[in-house]
């Protein structure tokens, strides 16, 4: 059975995976102790002719010990979670200077808004690509995500990244991809009958590839959008 | 056994608390009611904090004087309820009946005034979904001029209408239920089912009635006055 997390390609991966494995080991020990204990007790103390159960109501020392051990363990897990959580989703976690994109989720597509040639988001030369997020490798990226209709959840398994996108709210989702390549984006929150088809792609490029791609798409959008963009306002 | 049809078991063993089941049960049930109104009021608070601009200045859309009188009536009905209870404790059957009838009538009046208020508001243009298109309020809000000695009405009142009707509506529903149960208790009082020794039904419905009054005082404060 594989309890092994698949390979991940963002800066969050090592820390989240490490925490996962730490918890796996801790819970694994508890699991083995309890299950072996149950099997052992079931065998050892099974009813046999002549056996009489001991009349015991409890043992305060034992109870205090296992209560304390459990409490300390879970508090340690909690404390270890804090810095990682703050890094990924904390209030001011988005690094300064992160490349920004607009992401608009609607049934059942992810529309990505790119800054046009001026490099600024939310200006006239922005262009939109459906279901395609292209980012450079080793750069901080922030997605300004909104939803048009219902709640969606932006999920990139390879980045260990998930964030619900709620209509009426603006979510800032950031990450830093570490390996070029194509990865899948899924919607992780039930959003209607086509939920399972709400699939998109994030392509991590090297910086040169990315610049080239962006320039191409911007030019294409420029030429294509001119008449129809105006018409549809 | 007077209240058996409503609350009582066929027979009660000695209650462990020394308080009869009906009363304990009503207190417990009211715990549930508290949580219900907490959900409504909590949602109101969250929505209002999120969009304070959708709330009209107190007294602009809602008629405070009328509702204040209505509130006063409801508080009076709590008093008449207490009077009814006191009467039967003294074995005063006549007093019990009189005060119960008074309570039922006042409760019914309260609900009627609330229905009138709804009709009036809907006519004026406030619906659960917000302004009614083309209504007086909608036009006034669109024009942006001052309305009724206050500032201009909010441009949108979707949440205001939503919370107003839901909260007062559910309170009204509770009062209506209370009036119906109270009418039943009154009917039994006229049949002489309550005695000095056993008048549990009067006490139990009284508990509910006071609770509903208390909730109204909170609702009146936050919905009408704030």
């Amino acid at each position: 059975m594989g309890w092994i997390i698949p390979h991940g390609v963002s800066t969050f991966t090592p820390e989240i995976d490490r925490l996962y494995y730490i918890i796996l080991v801790i819970t694994g020990i508890a699991f083995v102790l309890v299950e072996i204990g149950l099997i052992y007790f079931s065998f050892k103390y099974r009813a046999q002719p002549g056996r009489k159960a001991h009349y015991i109501h409890g043992n305060v020392t034992a109870e205090v010990i296992w209560t304390a051990v459990t409490a300390v363990t879970v508090v340690i897990i909690g404390i270890m979670s804090v810095p990682v959580w703050n890094k990924v989703k904390g209030r001011n976690s988005v690094p300064a200077g992160a490349l920004a994109y607009n992401v608009t989720a609607k049934q059942f597509e992810w529309n990505v808004g790119y800054p046009g040639p001026d490099g600024q988001l939310n200006t006239a030369d922005d262009f939109k690509v459906r279901n395609q997020l292209h980012v450079p490798v080793n750069r901080d990226v922030v997605l300004e995500a909104t939803a048009e209709d219902v709640i969606h959840s932006f999920f990139v398994p390879a980045f260990r990244l998930k964030q619900d996108v709620v209509p009426g709210m603006r979510m800032r989702i950031w990450f830093r991809a570490t390996e070029p390549g194509p990865y899948e984006i899924a919607c992780a929150e039930l959003c209607g009958l086509g939920h399972y088809k709400m699939r998109a792609f994030v392509t991590v490029h090297t910086q040169e590839e990315y610049d080239q791609w962006l320039a191409e798409r911007a030019a294409q959008a420029q030429s294509e959008a001119q008449p129809s963009a105006v018409a549809s306002r | 056994m007077a209240n058996a049809t409503m609350m009582g078991p066929p027979a009660e063993t000695q209650p462990a608390t020394g308080v009869y089941n009906g009363k304990v049960g009503m207190w417990i049930f009211l715990g549930s009611e508290v949580m219900f109104f907490t959900a409504l009021i909590g949602s109101y608070i969250i929505l209002r904090f999120a969009h304070p601009e959708q709330w009209a200045t107190p007294g602009q859309a809602l008629n405070i004087p009328v509702t204040a009188v209505n509130t006063f009536l409801l508080i009076c009905s709590s008093v008449t309820m207490v009077k009814a209870f006191a009467a039967i404790q003294d074995g005063d059957q006549k007093g019990l009946r009189m005060w119960l009838v008074a309570t039922v009538l006042i409760g019914a009046t309260f609900v009627s005034v609330q229905v009138y208020e709804y009709v009036h508001l809907a006519h004026l243009g406030l619906l659960p979904s917000g302004y009614r298109e083309g209504s007086d309020l909608a036009n006034a809000a669109a024009s942006g001029v001052a309305w009724k000695a206050g500032p201009a009405l909010p441009a949108a009142v979707g949440l205001y209408g939503t919370t107003f009707y839901t909260m007062t509506g559910f309170h009204g529903f509770h009062v209506t239920m209370g009036v119906l149960c109270m009418a039943f208790v009154t009917w039994k009082a006229f049949n002489g089912k309550y005695t000095v020794a056993d008048h549990r039904g009067v006490e139990v419905i009284g508990l509910y009635w006071h609770f509903v009054d208390l909730v109204w005082i909170i609702l009146f404060t936050i919905v009408y006055l704030m």
Partner: protein
């Protein structure tokens, strides 16, 4: 006190039962009949919820292939036997809704809350028998409404059992209008039934305990039902309030959850989970209580740490109110709150661990008779442990980022609700069956059912952790759409086949249940040699329960008291003063 009670007793108890058939079995006010009615209703719903799960598993195991018997379904559900996505979403929604609200909860609270509370505290009936009866029939009408949703235009509710707004509030976006409205209405009505039931249980426990039945002589099953009833009483009205708001949003145009007019979609989640987490404990606490009773009896030993078990139940009940945010870590809630909820959530591990260790302590140095109920109880401990431990993963917010809304969660919740609640229920049903029907269930087939269930159950849900760790999302109709999920297809097929076998295995239980009703071996008053008050009455217990109000002298689990001839000392049996057990009167 005992004398006053005895005077009343003569009037109420053990009189000739001359009620008509309808008063006796249909509109009965007898808590035992109402309990059994709840039980039968929820077992039907359990089978139905299971059937829905099988359809879900068919689609996941064999995506796009025509379902066996699928051609019997109308075109709006399955076209040529191939399930439609909107039907799949409705299945997912209704499987969850039915199992939580119409199967597990009424089995635990409706069946056993009703059946056990008066019997185990020595009361002749509930505090409010008529309200009790009303509660059942209100629940039935809620069930009928819920079922009606399958037959309306647009299909049944399709926003998940959690009904997240705005999807649930917008017929144009979900394609479902009447179905979702019926869903809300049914939950509101069921809520009323639950609240009436809880009021009844709490009053009964507070007020109607037999003389000598002090709080610390109550069996753990009653403590668990009592705390769970308080949770029902306080949590269900929150759901009712939320469902009413949702219903109004759908029907009269209110704006609670409509973001376009300033409504707050997250408000629904806060309300739902503020109800929902206590609900989770409503679904597990009673099972914990039953298992404690069964394990003590099976091990012939007092429950280890009886007092700390009670405090654990109480603290789980309390902590349940301050952890709802852990369902919403990825919802866009204020991230700072995340830490608070992490800590409070992790703290729940403490009382849960206490309970697990105490169950093991109960078995330790006992003399365990592995009857069917005891097997299920031990199975409960083993499986609940897994469910509890997998919960630690998602309470850690960073790990939750990855596994939230994946099959890891599905595995976790089924380990708690199936491995926990349902194994606990199997233990309880097989244990108290003789008291309900006067006959024993078949032990051989009971054991076969247990072992097959245990094997197939783990074959279904254990691999779900694995696919969850690989990122497999919940509630998706066709995983083969995603490249990263394609390698998991064989696992999904394996899970599905195991699920069909697991479902088929439950047929053994159903047959055992039905056949034993008529043909089972006659049970005496106390077939398990247990200490509870219910075993001092005939099986099945008569109307009014006890020939004479019992007086309680002992703590609930006085097994194997040294120096006594029998290895159990019933709660209402005075121990010889000279050999008074040390634990009595705790």
């Amino acid at each position: 006190m005992a004398t006053t009670a005895a005077v009343v007793d003569h009037a109420t108890h053990a009189h000739a039962d001359d009620r008509s058939f309808i008063r006796k079995y249909i509109f009965s006010t007898d808590h035992k009949i109402i309990g059994i009615q709840f039980g039968l209703m929820s077992l039907v719903f359990l089978a139905l919820g299971g059937t829905l799960a099988m359809m879900i598993r068919w689609q996941l195991g064999f995506p796009g292939k025509p379902m066996p018997l699928g051609s019997l379904l109308p075109e709006t559900m399955a076209a040529g036997g191939i399930m439609l996505p909107e039907f799949y979403v409705a299945l997912v929604t209704m499987h969850g809704t039915i199992m939580v609200f119409f199967a597990i909860m009424p089995l635990l609270m409706g069946l056993f809350g009703n059946f056990l509370i008066p019997l185990k505290i020595g009361a002749p009936d509930m505090a409010f028998p008529r309200i009790n009866m009303a509660s059942f029939w209100i629940a039935v009408s809620a069930g009928v409404l819920m079922m009606a949703g399958f037959f309306v235009e647009g299909g049944h509710a399709g926003a998940g059992w959690t009904g997240y707004a705005p999807l649930s509030a917008r017929p144009d976006l979900s394609g479902v209008s009447l179905g979702q409205e019926l869903w809300c209405l049914s939950l509101i009505i069921l809520g009323l039934a639950s609240i009436l039931g809880a009021t009844n249980y709490i009053t009964t426990v507070i007020n109607m305990r037999a003389p000598g039945m002090t709080w610390f002589r109550l069996p753990l099953s009653i403590w668990a039902l009592f705390i769970a009833s308080i949770l029902v009483l306080l949590a269900i009205p929150i759901l009712s309030g939320a469902a009413i708001m949702l219903l109004f949003d759908q029907t009269i145009g209110t704006n609670f959850f409509n973001p376009a007019t300033g409504g707050q979609p997250l408000l629904w989640q806060h309300l739902f989970w503020y109800f929902g987490h206590p609900e989770v404990y409503i679904l597990i606490l009673p099972a914990m209580g039953f298992v404690s009773d069964v394990l003590a009896c099976g091990s012939r030993k007092p429950v280890f740490g009886y007092h700390s078990m009670i405090y654990a139940i109480i603290s789980i009940g309390f902590l349940g109110w301050i952890v709802w945010g852990h369902h919403m870590f990825q919802s866009g809630m204020n991230p700072t709150l995340g830490m608070t909820f992490t800590i409070s959530t992790l703290l729940i591990a403490v009382p849960s661990a206490i309970k697990v260790f105490n169950w093991m302590g109960t078995m330790w140095r006992g003399s365990i008779h592995f009857t069917t109920p005891v097997l299920h109880a031990v199975g409960f401990v083993a499986m609940f442990t897994i469910g509890g431990l997998s919960g630690v993963f998602m309470s850690s917010t960073p790990v939750d980022i990855y596994i939230h809304d994946t099959y890891f969660i599905v595995a976790h919740l089924h380990y708690v609700l199936f491995g926990g609640s349902l194994f606990g229920l199997f233990a309880a049903i097989t244990f108290w069956y003789p008291k309900m029907f006067g006959r024993m269930m078949n032990e051989f087939w009971g054991k076969v059912h247990f072992w097959l269930t245990m094997v197939f159950y783990n074959a279904v849900f254990w691999p779900m952790h694995d696919i969850g760790v690989h990122g497999h999302m919940r509630r998706i109709y066709d995983p083969s759409q995603y490249d990263f999920l394609k390698p998991l297809a064989p696992v999904n097929t394996f899970i599905s086949i195991s699920a069909f076998l697991l479902f088929a295995t439950q047929g053994i239980f159903a047959l055992n249940f039905i056949i034993s009703w008529f043909k089972g071996e006659k049970a005496g008053r106390n077939p398990w040699k247990d200490t509870g008050l219910e075993w001092s009455t005939p099986s099945p217990a008569p109307h009014g329960n006890f020939e004479k109000t019992p007086t309680v002298y002992n703590a609930p689990y006085e097994f194997s008291v040294p120096g006594m001839a029998e290895d159990y000392l019933p709660q209402d049996q005075k121990a010889d003063q000279s050999r008074a057990p040390a634990g009595a009167g705790h």
